[in-house]
Amino acid sequence: MKIKKGFVLRQVCGENVIVGEGLDAINFGRMLCLNETAAWIWKKAQDTGDFTVESLTQALCQEYDVTPEQALNDVKETIDNWIGIGVIE
Protein backbone atom coordinates (compact mmCIF):
# COMPACT_ATOMS: atom_id res chain seq x y z
CA MET A 1 0.00 0.00 0.00
CA LYS A 2 0.99 3.60 -0.32
CA ILE A 3 -0.32 7.07 0.41
CA LYS A 4 -2.01 8.58 -2.62
CA LYS A 5 -0.22 11.43 -4.34
CA GLY A 6 -1.21 14.95 -3.30
CA PHE A 7 -2.07 14.38 0.35
CA VAL A 8 -0.07 16.40 2.85
CA LEU A 9 0.20 16.35 6.64
CA ARG A 10 -0.07 19.88 8.05
CA GLN A 11 0.16 21.34 11.52
CA VAL A 12 -2.97 23.43 12.01
CA CYS A 13 -3.25 25.36 15.27
CA GLY A 14 -1.17 22.69 16.97
CA GLU A 15 -3.06 19.71 15.53
CA ASN A 16 -2.17 17.20 12.82
CA VAL A 17 -4.38 17.46 9.75
CA ILE A 18 -4.32 15.72 6.36
CA VAL A 19 -5.27 17.99 3.48
CA GLY A 20 -5.49 17.40 -0.26
CA GLU A 21 -3.18 19.81 -2.06
CA GLY A 22 -1.76 17.98 -5.06
CA LEU A 23 -3.42 17.86 -8.49
CA ASP A 24 -4.63 14.30 -7.78
CA ALA A 25 -6.17 15.33 -4.46
CA ILE A 26 -7.41 18.84 -5.16
CA ASN A 27 -11.07 17.81 -5.00
CA PHE A 28 -10.72 15.98 -1.65
CA GLY A 29 -12.54 18.95 -0.12
CA ARG A 30 -12.14 17.94 3.51
CA MET A 31 -9.63 17.84 6.32
CA LEU A 32 -8.71 14.75 8.26
CA CYS A 33 -7.61 15.20 11.88
CA LEU A 34 -5.06 12.72 13.20
CA ASN A 35 -4.15 11.91 16.79
CA GLU A 36 -0.47 11.68 17.66
CA THR A 37 -0.16 7.96 16.92
CA ALA A 38 -1.96 8.25 13.60
CA ALA A 39 0.27 11.20 12.64
CA TRP A 40 3.33 9.13 13.47
CA ILE A 41 2.00 6.25 11.35
CA TRP A 42 1.33 8.67 8.48
CA LYS A 43 4.88 10.04 8.55
CA LYS A 44 6.29 6.52 8.69
CA ALA A 45 4.09 5.42 5.78
CA GLN A 46 5.13 8.51 3.82
CA ASP A 47 8.84 7.84 4.44
CA THR A 48 8.52 4.11 3.64
CA GLY A 49 6.69 4.68 0.36
CA ASP A 50 5.35 1.17 -0.13
CA PHE A 51 4.17 -0.18 3.24
CA THR A 52 2.18 -3.05 4.75
CA VAL A 53 0.24 -3.31 8.02
CA GLU A 54 3.04 -5.58 9.26
CA SER A 55 5.86 -3.16 8.42
CA LEU A 56 4.09 -0.27 10.14
CA THR A 57 3.24 -2.43 13.19
CA GLN A 58 6.89 -3.41 13.51
CA ALA A 59 7.99 0.22 13.23
CA LEU A 60 5.42 1.33 15.81
CA CYS A 61 6.67 -1.31 18.28
CA GLN A 62 10.22 -0.07 17.88
CA GLU A 63 9.25 3.55 18.49
CA TYR A 64 6.66 3.22 21.25
CA ASP A 65 6.39 1.08 24.34
CA VAL A 66 3.38 -0.95 23.17
CA THR A 67 2.59 -4.65 22.89
CA PRO A 68 2.62 -6.09 19.34
CA GLU A 69 -1.13 -6.77 19.69
CA GLN A 70 -1.89 -3.16 20.61
CA ALA A 71 0.34 -1.86 17.81
CA LEU A 72 -1.33 -4.15 15.28
CA ASN A 73 -4.77 -2.98 16.41
CA ASP A 74 -3.77 0.69 16.16
CA VAL A 75 -2.25 0.30 12.71
CA LYS A 76 -5.14 -1.80 11.37
CA GLU A 77 -7.75 0.62 12.67
CA THR A 78 -5.90 3.61 11.24
CA ILE A 79 -5.25 2.03 7.85
CA ASP A 80 -8.85 0.77 7.52
CA ASN A 81 -10.03 4.31 8.24
CA TRP A 82 -7.71 5.75 5.59
CA ILE A 83 -8.77 3.15 3.01
CA GLY A 84 -12.39 4.07 3.72
CA ILE A 85 -11.68 7.76 3.23
CA GLY A 86 -9.60 7.09 0.14
CA VAL A 87 -6.23 8.59 1.01
CA ILE A 88 -4.24 5.41 0.45
CA GLU A 89 -4.15 2.90 -2.36
Binding site: G6, V8, R10, Q11, V12, C13, G14, E15, V17, V19, E21, G22, L23, I26, M31, C33
Partner: protein
Protein backbone atom coordinates in the same frame (compact mmCIF):
# COMPACT_ATOMS: atom_id res chain seq x y z
CA UNK B 1 5.14 53.22 -27.03
CA UNK B 2 6.03 50.82 -24.23
CA UNK B 3 5.77 52.33 -20.82
CA UNK B 4 6.80 50.97 -17.42
CA UNK B 5 4.47 51.70 -14.56
CA UNK B 6 4.93 50.86 -10.90
CA UNK B 7 2.23 50.09 -8.39
CA UNK B 8 2.15 49.35 -4.68
CA UNK B 9 -0.57 47.00 -3.44
CA UNK B 10 -0.54 45.67 0.15
CA UNK B 11 2.96 47.14 0.52
CA UNK B 12 4.20 45.07 -2.44
CA UNK B 13 5.73 46.81 -5.45
CA UNK B 14 5.06 45.51 -8.96
CA UNK B 15 5.68 46.75 -12.47
CA UNK B 16 3.78 46.59 -15.75
CA UNK B 17 5.48 47.05 -19.10
CA UNK B 18 2.84 47.68 -21.70
CA UNK B 19 2.06 49.80 -24.71
CA UNK B 20 0.56 53.07 -23.50
CA UNK B 21 -2.59 52.29 -25.50
CA UNK B 22 -3.46 49.85 -22.67
CA UNK B 23 -3.44 52.57 -20.02
CA UNK B 24 -7.11 53.56 -20.47
CA UNK B 25 -7.93 49.98 -19.40
CA UNK B 26 -6.01 50.39 -16.18
CA UNK B 27 -7.93 53.12 -14.35
CA UNK B 28 -8.54 50.74 -11.44
CA UNK B 29 -4.76 50.71 -10.82
CA UNK B 30 -4.44 54.51 -10.65
CA UNK B 31 -4.88 54.82 -6.86
CA UNK B 32 -1.97 52.38 -6.47
CA UNK B 33 0.45 54.11 -8.87
CA UNK B 34 3.91 54.68 -7.46
CA UNK B 35 6.49 57.12 -8.77
CA UNK B 36 9.80 55.29 -8.23
CA UNK B 37 11.81 58.41 -9.09
CA UNK B 38 10.58 60.01 -5.88
CA UNK B 39 12.98 59.49 -3.01
CA UNK B 40 11.06 61.34 -0.31
CA UNK B 41 8.41 59.76 1.88
CA UNK B 42 8.03 56.07 2.67
CA UNK B 43 10.86 53.76 1.58
CA UNK B 44 9.94 51.77 -1.52
CA UNK B 45 9.43 48.00 -1.00
CA UNK B 46 11.45 45.59 -3.20
CA UNK B 47 10.01 44.65 -6.60
CA UNK B 48 7.70 41.64 -6.21
CA UNK B 49 7.15 40.94 -9.93
CA UNK B 50 6.89 42.53 -13.32
CA UNK B 51 4.41 41.85 -16.12
CA UNK B 52 5.21 42.39 -19.75
CA UNK B 53 2.17 42.79 -22.00
CA UNK B 54 2.36 41.88 -25.67
CA UNK B 55 0.12 40.81 -28.54
CA UNK B 56 0.25 37.35 -30.05
CA UNK B 57 -0.14 33.68 -29.30
CA UNK B 58 1.94 30.98 -27.68
CA UNK B 59 2.92 27.82 -29.49
CA UNK B 60 1.41 25.31 -27.09
CA UNK B 61 1.66 23.97 -23.59
CA UNK B 62 0.63 21.03 -21.43
CA UNK B 63 -2.62 21.47 -19.50
CA UNK B 64 -2.67 20.53 -15.81
CA UNK B 65 -5.92 21.81 -14.41
CA UNK B 66 -8.78 24.06 -15.32
CA UNK B 67 -11.28 25.95 -13.22
CA UNK B 68 -14.50 27.53 -14.33
CA UNK B 69 -16.22 30.47 -12.70
CA UNK B 70 -19.01 32.70 -13.99
CA UNK B 71 -18.46 32.06 -17.69
CA UNK B 72 -14.70 32.28 -17.39
CA UNK B 73 -12.24 29.38 -17.65
CA UNK B 74 -8.70 29.57 -16.36
CA UNK B 75 -6.56 26.73 -17.62
CA UNK B 76 -3.29 26.11 -15.78
CA UNK B 77 -0.39 24.29 -17.36
CA UNK B 78 3.27 24.52 -18.23
CA UNK B 79 5.52 25.01 -21.23
CA UNK B 80 8.12 22.49 -22.41
CA UNK B 81 10.65 24.47 -20.31
CA UNK B 82 8.39 23.95 -17.26
CA UNK B 83 7.31 27.57 -17.08
CA UNK B 84 3.81 27.99 -15.63
CA UNK B 85 1.09 28.98 -18.14
CA UNK B 86 -2.40 30.36 -17.47
CA UNK B 87 -4.87 30.61 -20.32
CA UNK B 88 -7.94 32.81 -19.90
CA UNK B 89 -11.06 31.86 -21.82
CA UNK B 90 -14.33 33.72 -21.92
CA UNK B 91 -17.32 31.90 -23.40
CA UNK B 92 -14.90 29.57 -25.15
CA UNK B 93 -12.72 32.34 -26.65
CA UNK B 94 -9.15 32.79 -25.47
CA UNK B 95 -8.39 36.27 -24.16
CA UNK B 96 -4.71 35.58 -23.53
CA UNK B 97 -1.93 33.41 -22.21
CA UNK B 98 0.17 34.33 -19.19
CA UNK B 99 3.60 32.67 -19.17
CA UNK B 100 5.54 33.01 -15.91
CA UNK B 101 9.00 32.21 -14.63
CA UNK B 102 8.84 29.35 -12.07
CA UNK B 103 9.30 31.82 -9.20
CA UNK B 104 6.53 34.10 -10.58
CA UNK B 105 8.84 37.10 -10.49
CA UNK B 106 8.26 37.73 -14.18
CA UNK B 107 5.33 37.14 -16.44
CA UNK B 108 4.52 37.80 -20.07
CA UNK B 109 0.91 38.18 -21.13
CA UNK B 110 0.22 37.29 -24.78
CA UNK B 111 -3.06 38.95 -25.72
CA UNK B 112 -5.39 37.63 -28.40
CA UNK B 113 -7.26 40.95 -28.54
CA UNK B 114 -10.45 39.57 -27.00
CA UNK B 115 -11.43 40.63 -23.44
CA UNK B 116 -8.14 42.48 -23.02
CA UNK B 117 -8.99 44.08 -19.69
CA UNK B 118 -10.03 40.77 -18.10
CA UNK B 119 -6.79 39.15 -19.27
CA UNK B 120 -4.76 42.02 -17.81
CA UNK B 121 -6.55 41.95 -14.46
CA UNK B 122 -6.38 38.14 -14.23
CA UNK B 123 -2.66 38.14 -15.03
CA UNK B 124 -1.83 40.75 -12.41
CA UNK B 125 -3.96 39.00 -9.78
CA UNK B 126 -2.29 35.65 -10.47
CA UNK B 127 1.23 37.07 -10.41
CA UNK B 128 0.46 39.03 -7.25
CA UNK B 129 -1.02 36.00 -5.47
CA UNK B 130 1.74 33.60 -6.53
CA UNK B 131 4.74 35.88 -6.07
CA UNK B 132 3.56 37.02 -2.63
CA UNK B 133 2.41 33.60 -1.34
CA UNK B 134 5.68 32.99 0.51
CA UNK B 135 5.68 36.42 2.19
CA UNK B 136 2.72 35.97 4.54
CA UNK B 137 0.40 37.55 1.97
CA UNK B 138 -2.88 36.19 0.64
CA UNK B 139 -5.31 37.53 -1.95
CA UNK B 140 -8.79 36.69 -0.69
CA UNK B 141 -12.10 36.13 -2.35
CA UNK B 142 -14.07 38.26 0.12
CA UNK B 143 -15.70 41.59 0.82
CA UNK B 144 -13.95 43.89 3.30
CA UNK B 145 -15.39 46.73 5.37
CA UNK B 146 -13.80 49.17 7.78
CA UNK B 147 -15.14 50.46 11.07
CA UNK B 148 -13.40 52.56 13.72
CA UNK B 149 -9.94 51.94 12.29
CA UNK B 150 -10.24 48.19 11.84
CA UNK B 151 -10.99 46.00 8.84
CA UNK B 152 -13.34 43.02 8.72
CA UNK B 153 -13.70 40.43 5.96
CA UNK B 154 -16.78 38.51 4.87
CA UNK B 155 -16.15 35.16 3.21
CA UNK B 156 -18.43 32.69 1.49
CA UNK B 157 -19.02 30.78 -1.70
CA UNK B 158 -20.02 32.76 -4.78
CA UNK B 159 -23.64 33.81 -4.45
CA UNK B 160 -23.75 33.60 -0.64
CA UNK B 161 -24.15 37.35 -0.25
CA UNK B 162 -20.73 38.74 0.73
CA UNK B 163 -21.36 41.99 -1.15
CA UNK B 164 -24.92 42.12 0.14
CA UNK B 165 -23.76 41.80 3.74
CA UNK B 166 -21.06 44.45 3.22
CA UNK B 167 -23.78 46.67 1.72
CA UNK B 168 -25.95 46.13 4.82
CA UNK B 169 -23.07 47.32 7.01
CA UNK B 170 -22.73 50.49 4.94
CA UNK B 171 -26.46 51.11 5.16
CA UNK B 172 -27.10 50.29 8.83
CA UNK B 173 -23.75 50.62 10.65
CA UNK B 174 -22.86 54.32 10.91
CA UNK B 175 -19.18 55.01 10.20
CA UNK B 176 -18.55 51.82 8.24
CA UNK B 177 -17.00 51.92 4.77
CA UNK B 178 -16.33 49.47 1.95
CA UNK B 179 -12.61 48.69 1.58
CA UNK B 180 -12.98 46.19 -1.26
CA UNK B 181 -15.91 44.17 -2.59
CA UNK B 182 -14.27 41.06 -4.03
CA UNK B 183 -10.49 40.68 -3.64
CA UNK B 184 -8.90 42.28 -0.58
CA UNK B 185 -5.32 41.33 0.30
CA UNK B 186 -4.12 40.30 3.76
CA UNK B 187 -0.64 40.29 5.24
CA UNK B 188 0.28 38.59 8.49
CA UNK B 189 3.03 40.19 10.54
CA UNK B 190 5.66 38.33 12.57
CA UNK B 191 3.84 39.25 15.82
CA UNK B 192 0.67 37.44 14.66
CA UNK B 193 -1.33 40.58 13.83
CA UNK B 194 -2.59 41.06 10.29
CA UNK B 195 -3.47 43.92 7.96
CA UNK B 196 -6.18 43.99 5.31
CA UNK B 197 -5.76 46.09 2.16
CA UNK B 198 -7.87 47.39 -0.69
CA UNK B 199 -6.62 46.32 -4.15
CA UNK B 200 -7.20 47.20 -7.83
CA UNK B 201 -9.39 44.10 -8.09
CA UNK B 202 -12.94 44.29 -6.79
CA UNK B 203 -15.19 42.14 -8.97
CA UNK B 204 -18.19 43.93 -10.42
CA UNK B 205 -18.06 46.80 -7.91
CA UNK B 206 -15.74 49.66 -8.85
CA UNK B 207 -14.13 50.00 -5.41
CA UNK B 208 -10.40 50.39 -6.01
CA UNK B 209 -9.33 52.05 -2.80
CA UNK B 210 -5.73 52.26 -1.63
CA UNK B 211 -6.64 51.78 2.02
CA UNK B 212 -5.52 49.46 4.81
CA UNK B 213 -6.48 48.60 8.37
CA UNK B 214 -5.54 46.09 11.06
CA UNK B 215 -7.65 42.99 10.46
CA UNK B 216 -10.15 42.74 13.33
CA UNK B 217 -12.06 39.65 12.30
CA UNK B 218 -13.07 37.22 9.57
CA UNK B 219 -16.69 36.12 9.09
CA UNK B 220 -17.76 33.13 7.02
CA UNK B 221 -21.30 33.71 5.74
CA UNK B 222 -24.02 31.14 5.08
CA UNK B 223 -27.58 31.83 4.01
CA UNK B 224 -30.17 30.80 6.60
CA UNK B 225 -33.79 31.63 7.51
CA UNK B 226 -32.49 33.24 10.74
CA UNK B 227 -29.48 35.19 12.05
CA UNK B 228 -26.98 33.44 14.31
CA UNK B 229 -23.26 33.94 14.84
CA UNK B 230 -20.78 31.48 16.36
CA UNK B 231 -17.04 31.63 16.93
CA UNK B 232 -14.81 29.21 15.02
CA UNK B 233 -11.59 28.01 16.60
CA UNK B 234 -8.56 26.02 15.51
CA UNK B 235 -9.16 23.69 12.59
CA UNK B 236 -12.69 25.09 12.13
CA UNK B 237 -11.24 28.57 11.65
CA UNK B 238 -8.57 27.25 9.28
CA UNK B 239 -11.17 25.34 7.24
CA UNK B 240 -13.22 28.54 6.92
CA UNK B 241 -10.29 30.59 5.63
CA UNK B 242 -8.63 28.16 3.18
CA UNK B 243 -11.36 27.97 0.46
CA UNK B 244 -11.40 31.79 0.19
CA UNK B 245 -7.78 31.99 -0.95
CA UNK B 246 -7.03 30.94 -4.48
CA UNK B 247 -3.62 29.60 -5.25
CA UNK B 248 -1.91 26.83 -7.11
CA UNK B 249 -1.71 24.47 -4.17
CA UNK B 250 -0.16 21.70 -6.21
CA UNK B 251 2.94 23.89 -6.32
CA UNK B 252 4.42 22.81 -2.97
CA UNK B 253 6.22 26.10 -2.37
CA UNK B 254 3.01 28.07 -2.79
CA UNK B 255 1.01 25.59 -0.70
CA UNK B 256 3.57 25.92 2.12
CA UNK B 257 3.44 29.73 1.96
CA UNK B 258 -0.36 29.87 1.95
CA UNK B 259 -0.55 27.34 4.78
CA UNK B 260 1.71 29.55 6.91
CA UNK B 261 -0.58 32.55 6.31
CA UNK B 262 -3.80 30.57 6.86
CA UNK B 263 -2.49 28.97 10.04
CA UNK B 264 -1.37 32.36 11.40
CA UNK B 265 -4.80 33.85 10.69
CA UNK B 266 -6.66 30.88 12.24
CA UNK B 267 -4.41 31.10 15.32
CA UNK B 268 -4.47 34.86 15.95
CA UNK B 269 -7.45 36.51 14.25
CA UNK B 270 -11.02 35.95 15.51
CA UNK B 271 -12.97 33.88 12.95
CA UNK B 272 -16.76 33.62 13.02
CA UNK B 273 -19.55 31.81 11.22
CA UNK B 274 -22.63 33.91 10.51
CA UNK B 275 -25.84 32.19 9.46
CA UNK B 276 -27.85 35.08 8.14
CA UNK B 277 -30.72 36.67 6.34
CA UNK B 278 -30.02 39.63 4.04
CA UNK B 279 -31.37 42.11 6.57
CA UNK B 280 -30.37 44.94 8.92
CA UNK B 281 -30.48 42.67 11.97
CA UNK B 282 -27.79 40.42 10.44
CA UNK B 283 -25.43 43.38 10.05
CA UNK B 284 -26.14 44.65 13.56
CA UNK B 285 -25.72 41.20 15.18
CA UNK B 286 -22.47 40.70 13.29
CA UNK B 287 -21.15 44.16 14.21
CA UNK B 288 -22.10 43.82 17.90
CA UNK B 289 -20.38 40.43 18.13
CA UNK B 290 -17.16 40.96 16.20
CA UNK B 291 -16.21 44.56 17.03
CA UNK B 292 -15.48 44.19 20.72
Amino acid sequence: MTESRYYIVAEHLFCTEADDSFLPLMDNYKPFLHDISRTDGEPCPPLLFSLNVTKGRITGYTEEFSQEEEGQDIICGHTAEDHPVFEFRWDGNTAGWLVCTPDYRQGTLHLSGYEVKSALDNSLMILFAMASACTGTALFHAAAVSLEGRGYMFLGKSGTGKSTHAGLWRKYIPGSGLMNDDNPAVRVKPDGTAMVYGTPWSGKTPCYRNVSAPLGGIVLLSQAPYNRITRLEGIGAYAAVVPSISGKRWDTRIADGLHYTENALASHIPVWHLDCLPDAEAARLCKETITV
